[in-house]
């Protein structure tokens, strides 16, 4: 059992916590195990890069992390799929972040910081996730897919945001023949409300 697995198990014994709190307890433990080995919040070149005005809900570090992960998680080379840069993936992620309740949102923010920084030691990448090349970032995700339950959950959340933000866009559908909305295109008639039942004036069942 790896050190991070041991730490996660220890944390799991602390008791049941709401979903993302569990992640963070576990994440804190993972970080504590690795704490002597890497510099928490190692600086990245992207930290000082600007964030567009339209960003309302993503924190700056989250914006840069997602921006870097999109091409890594949605590689279209060798496929007929729509390039992610032609789809408002980041805007959709920002929108979805705004739908989270306050507690979950705060916990997710901490989880993303953790996942970003844990790359410094996890897999011995020596860099934050935001600085990894796409191939290394994918390897990092694959490692977490096979990791402890906390790692599995956190990598899954990040992927859900990115995958959903891409595949919800109609521009991604033609290459896979997905029809999307059809009612208006087919000219379907609206049937309206059903009439009162015949038994309306009868006694109950």
């Amino acid at each position: 059992m790896s050190e991070s697995d041991k730490a996660a198990e220890e944390v799991a014994r602390l008791g049941r916590r709401p979903f993302l709190k569990s992640l963070l307890w576990g994440g804190a433990a993972v970080a504590a195990v690795a704490g002597g080995s890497f510099a928490w919040l190692r600086r990245s070149g992207v930290d000082d890069e600007p964030v567009p005005d339209w960003v309302r809900h993503l924190h700056a570090n989250e914006y840069h992390l997602m921006r870097r992960l999109i091409p890594a998680l949605l590689p279209v080379a060798g496929t007929n799929l729509t390039p992610p840069e032609q789809v408002p993936v980041l805007r959709n992620i920002d929108h979805m972040m705004g739908l989270l309740n306050t507690t979950v949102r705060k916990d997710l923010a901490k989880g993303l910081v953790l996942m970003d920084n844990a790359a410094v030691v996890s897999g011995w990448h020596g860099k934050r996730l935001v600085d990894l090349e796409p191939e290394a970032a994918r390897a990092y995700f694959d490692t977490w897919t096979r990791g402890n339950r906390i790692q599995r959950a956190l990598q899954g959340v990040v992927k859900q945001f990115i995958y959903t933000s891409y595949w919800r866009e109609p521009a991604t559908w033609p290459p896979v023949d997905y029809d999307g909305p059809v009612t208006e295109e087919w000219g379907l008639e609206y049937l309206g409300n059903a009439p009162l039942p015949e038994a309306d004036q009868e006694q109950s069942a």
Binding site: S22, T79, V157, T164, W167, V176, Y178, P181, Y190, A205
Partner: protein, 518 residues
């Protein structure tokens, strides 16, 4: 006087209509929730001349505003914008949160409560009144009212034809679903709401019928507390919330009878927040939810799993607990759902899988799970504690194995295990070793629940149940539950018809009590 139903749409008071900061209403009955339980009780009581107020926390979204884009509708029509999960975050709990509730966004599947489930309720949970014979008139009434019929051949899409082919090749029992739909247009968008109003959801049936009999319906209205005095319900307090602006008004409804029909997650939370009805300590306990998996398989020929009716056929070979205790349902899905239900690997493997999506077909597994979950209100937040019980995990594995076996019998060349870890099965011989290797731990399987149930179970004993067989609280007179919270156990099948029937049953019991008292 005869009632008249609006041809389309519904007379609903929304936050945008409210100009005062405080509203006080009086009614005979106030109903919390407008889904399967709330709508049926509203109609059955209103048509008997009672003054009924229905309060719905979610928005009123007319059918014409359904976009048929799944993610948009998740955010608009579902609880927590489609993000409601258990505490571990590995079980997505999909519930409608809109006028009409989950009936607006379900897959139309209709089953009567299986007889072996009713027998269990009679024999093990002290409910001898709930016989098939006693409930039959309720089932028949709702089946007629909602155009429930068995799928005809033209309603069985390619994905469900494949399920039938596989089952027949294995000699397993397979049947067409019954659905509450009128002239299905085969759009495949059931889970996003039926835009052309063919699904006979509460939005186009019982709610407009209740309104025709004078029921008043409020959307955007979150009930914060049930009120009671000297052991009798006296009404509810609520807040009318604009989806964008926040609270616009306080609302108090004074009524001698309160019906909770907010669903098996919200109903126990409301009781807990109100500090009512929980002398047994059972409010929120005994939660079950039919944890479902979607077992995807690849077929050599295109399936286009989004085309046609969402749900066509099912396998009941293993429905009896002695034979396994699960059913397999042939179901369709679109692009977004496909992206969330499986991932053969990060990056290129995932994108190639998605590029190939028209070749996939899936099976939804439903198990008769044990009631091991709990709903609670902690630190001003709801908590859903639910993990797959050790006793249920072998059933989950059996349902995956049966699904895989069926998919191969139907001609699949590959089956994906619904796990977070990428696992594929490439032949029948690989099924057992791969599935036997699964471990029951959080964030292992990809789970979705469409059927929360059983968190305020009924029973005769006030020490071990929350409400009596007529849905009335053991502790608070005039306080009723009329949703899936009532169920003593999970039903194994899609529960909407059971909720409709029991809601009608609860309404009849209430009317009988009122007549006796008069």
């Amino acid at each position: 006087m005869s009632a008249t139903v609006q041809k389309s749409g519904l007379a609903v008071t929304t936050a945008a209509d409210v100009k005062q900061q405080r509203l006080d209403l009086k009614a005979d009955v106030v109903i919390v929730g407008s889904g399967a339980g709330g709508a049926v009780t509203a109609y059955e009581l209103a048509r008997k001349g009672l003054d009924v107020v229905v309060l719905e926390a979610g928005p009123y979204v007319p059918s014409k505003d359904f976009t048929e884009k799944f993610n948009d509708m998740l955010e608009t029509l579902y609880q927590d914008h489609g993000g409601q999960t258990n505490a571990d975050g590995d079980l997505l709990l999909l519930q409608g949160r809109c006028v009409g509730g989950s009936t607006v966004v379900n897959g139309c599947v209709c089953f009567r409560t299986p007889e072996f489930i009713l027998q269990k309720w009679q024999q093990q949970y002290g409910l001898p009144e709930l016989t098939e014979q006693a409930l039959r008139p309720y089932f028949e009434r709702v089946e007629k009212n909602l155009a429930i019929h068995e799928n005809e051949e033209w309603e069985i899409a390619r994905h469900s034809q494949l399920l039938r082919t596989g089952a027949e090749n294995l000699g397993w029992s397979v049947r067409p679903f019954k659905r509450n739909i009128n002239q299905c247009a085969l759009t495949g968008h059931c889970l996003s709401g039926c835009k052309s109003e063919r699904k006979q959801s509460m939005l186009v049936t019982y709610l407009p019928w209740a309104a025709a009999h004078g029921a008043r319906i409020y959307a955007d209205t979150e009930v914060t507390r049930v009120r009671a005095d000297n052991g009798r319900a006296t009404g509810v307090d609520a807040q009318i919330m604009d989806p964008e602006q926040g609270k616009v008004a306080d609302l108090r409804v004074t009524a001698d009878r309160v019906i909770l029909a907010a669903g098996a997650v919200q109903t126990p939370l409301l009781l807990q927040k109100s500090g009512l009805g929980n002398s047994s300590g059972q409010v929120g306990r005994n939660f079950a939810c039919h944890p479902s998996m979607f077992v995807l398989a690849r077929f050599p020929e295109p399936v286009h799993p989004w085309k046609g009716a969402l749900l066509g056929t099912y396998v009941d070979e293993f429905m009896d607990p002695d034979k396994g205790g699960f059913i397999l349902e042939g179901g369709g899905l679109g692009a977004s759902e496909m992206a969330l239900l499986n991932e053969p690997g990060t990056g290129k493997p995932f994108m190639h899988y998605m590029e190939d999506m028209k070749h996939y077909s899936g099976i939804v597994t439903l198990i008769h799970d044990h009631s091991v979950g709990e709903i609670s209100w902690q630190e001003e937040t709801k908590q859903v504690d639910y993990r797959i019980a050790e006793a249920d995990f072998p059933t989950m594995q059996q349902s995956i194995k049966a699904s895989a076996r069926l998919q191969f019998a139907a001609g699949a060349d590959k089956v994906f295990v619904p796990s977070y870890q990428p696992l594929e099965i490439n032949s029948v011989d690989e099924i057992d070793p791969v599935v036997d290797g699964l471990v029951n731990e959080p964030n292992s399987l990809r789970l979705v629940s469409y059927h929360p149930q059983g968190s305020c179970r009924m029973g005769p004993d006030p020490a071990s149940s929350v409400v009596n067989v007529r849905g009335e609280s053991h502790d608070v007179a005039g306080l009723y539950v009329a949703d899936a919270s009532l169920f003593p156990t999970s039903t194994i099948v899609n529960p909407q018809v059971t909720v409709y029937a029991l809601a009608h049953w609860v309404a009849d019991g209430m009317l009988a009590d009122m007549n006796r008292a008069a």
